[in-house]
């Protein structure tokens, strides 16, 4: 029996797309490993404000999400809640996320008219989908969002927990940190006092690139989250937060 030519063509296209986008590495280019940072740099690094620190309560962002031909706009609301608010969820996707003790983070994206696109619950080890707009209810998409939000909300590793690298051209510092298969690369200024971006992945599909504009605040004023594999761009602008 011959395989259906259309299916074969689609399969080849899919594999080609995955192969091409899979080539994008989350490890920044042009790095060379460096021994532990000097005490001064380490001290500066430790003083960088932790984004979404332990005391973080909630934040409201203006949000634009592009996935393929779909363009969604609205508001993203992030709220950290005590673990007593944990509820059973429709679907859970396992991710190695280690937030501050016993809290959950609820992430709700709605359009301008208030209609919810998705309502997610980020737990220490998984992402729960409380609700999602049906066309978005794709397991692969939640895997991508799970890694993206885990990367966004993860506490900053300490100086000693990092494997340090220097970028040849810019002298920027990169901290590599991993838990299990969750690989993370944090890119800092040469003085180790500003976080520019971070990249992470657990599999080939969920490669995530996050760029920040933090203005030295604990809540970044702008966040751009991207995933080249599924051609996802999620742009956030801070409106309010505490």
């Amino acid at each position: 029996m011959h395989p259906c030519p259309i299916r074969l063509f689609c399969l080849i296209n899919l594999l080609a797309c995955l192969a091409l986008s899979g080539c994008v590495s989350v490890k920044p280019k042009g790095l060379s490993e460096t021994p532990m940072l000097s005490e001064n740099l380490c001290a500066t690094f430790e003083q960088i404000p932790v984004l979404f620190r332990e005391e973080f309560e909630k934040a409201l962002f203006k949000a634009t999400l592009d996935i393929g031909k779909h363009h969604l706009t609205g508001l993203l609301f992030i709220k950290r809640m005590p673990d007593t608010a944990w509820i059973s969820t429709v679907q859970d996707f396992l991710i190695p996320y280690h937030p501050p003790v016993k809290t959950i983070t609820r992430i709700l994206f709605s359009n301008e008219f208030g209609m919810t696109y998705f309502d997610l619950e980020l737990k220490p080890d998984s992402l729960g989908v409380i609700y999602c707009f049906e066309p978005m209810n794709k397991q692969a998409l939640w895997k991508v969002f799970g890694t993206a939000f885990a990367l966004l909300m993860s506490p900053k590793p300490s100086c000693k927990e990092c494997s340090w690298f220097i970028q040849h051209q810019t002298n920027a510092l990169t901290c590599h940190y991993s838990i299990g298969n969750f690989q993370r690369w944090y890119n800092y200024s040469p003085e180790a006092n500003i976080l520019y971006s971070c990249n992470g992945r657990t599999t080939l599909l969920d490669k995530t690139f996050i760029q920040y504009l933090s203005n030295g605040q604990e809540l970044p004023t702008r966040i751009n989250i991207g995933n080249p594999v599924i051609k996802m761009k999620f742009r956030l602008v801070l409106l309010s937060g505490s």
Binding site: N111, I130, Y131, F133, E134
Partner: protein, 209 residues
């Protein structure tokens, strides 16, 4: 078991009493005709709006405010002024959004939620929603007019909304308030105030460069 049955009946009867009473057939006809006439005679609407999204499980709310404009047949302009400045113009099937000097245009068809909200709002203003076969419709008295409760019948709509409540003004049959109830238990209330009906609105109001 037998002891439970009278208690069950008591609770059921109390629940029934607590339910709102439907409008009678004559008043329903009056509302239908009033809304249809208002739709016919309304060329433009300019008003303020306050939008309140209640997130039940998050025990929180998001409040937005702005100005709303409508021009017959299908032009809408939502001018959000709070919590951020934002402009949405829906003209026929094209959505244009202006935010931070960036203008984005896309077809409403690429965003299903947008399409549905647009249909509900336009249908409420133009009165067509009361005859829309994709909803079951029931009528109730309300403080300032009439409440029409719409329950989506089509599976596509039911995935997002459990019910829509439209509050029509007793005097001019325009929409005072819209409530959208979502599957997850959250709901959004949009209050329209300071309405100006048929005030001149230039076409440029619905054009964004």
């Amino acid at each position: 078991m037998l002891k439970i049955i009278p208690f069950f009946f008591l609770i059921s009867s109390l629940t029934l009493q607590a339910q709102q009473k439907n409008l009678d057939a004559v008043t329903i006809q009056l509302v239908r005709e009033g809304v249809a006439l208002a739709a016919q005679t309304t060329q433009t609407i300019s008003c303020d709006f306050t939008q309140q999204k209640e997130m039940s499980m998050l025990k929180d709310q998001i409040i937005s405010r702005g100005k709303f404009f409508f021009k017959k047949e299908q032009s809408l302009r939502w001018e959000y002024t709070y919590p951020f400045s934002y402009l949405i113009v829906i003209h026929n099937d094209e959505v244009t959004i202006r935010s931070d000097d960036n203008v984005t245009k896309f077809s409403a068809q690429t965003n299903k939620v947008f399409t549905e909200i647009n249909r509900i709002i336009l249908g409420s203003i133009r009165g067509t929603i009361l005859n829309d076969s994709s909803f079951s419709t029931s009528f109730y008295p309300a403080n300032t007019g009439y409440l029409v409760k719409l329950v989506p019948l089509s599976p596509g709509l039911r995935e997002n909304l459990t019910k829509i409540m439209i509050f029509f003004n007793r005097t001019d049959f325009t929409v005072d308030k819209l409530e959208l109830y979502e599957q997850a238990g959250d709901y959004t209330i949009i209050d329209f105030s300071e309405k100006k009906i048929n005030a001149p609105l230039p076409d440029q109001t619905f054009l964004l460069d």
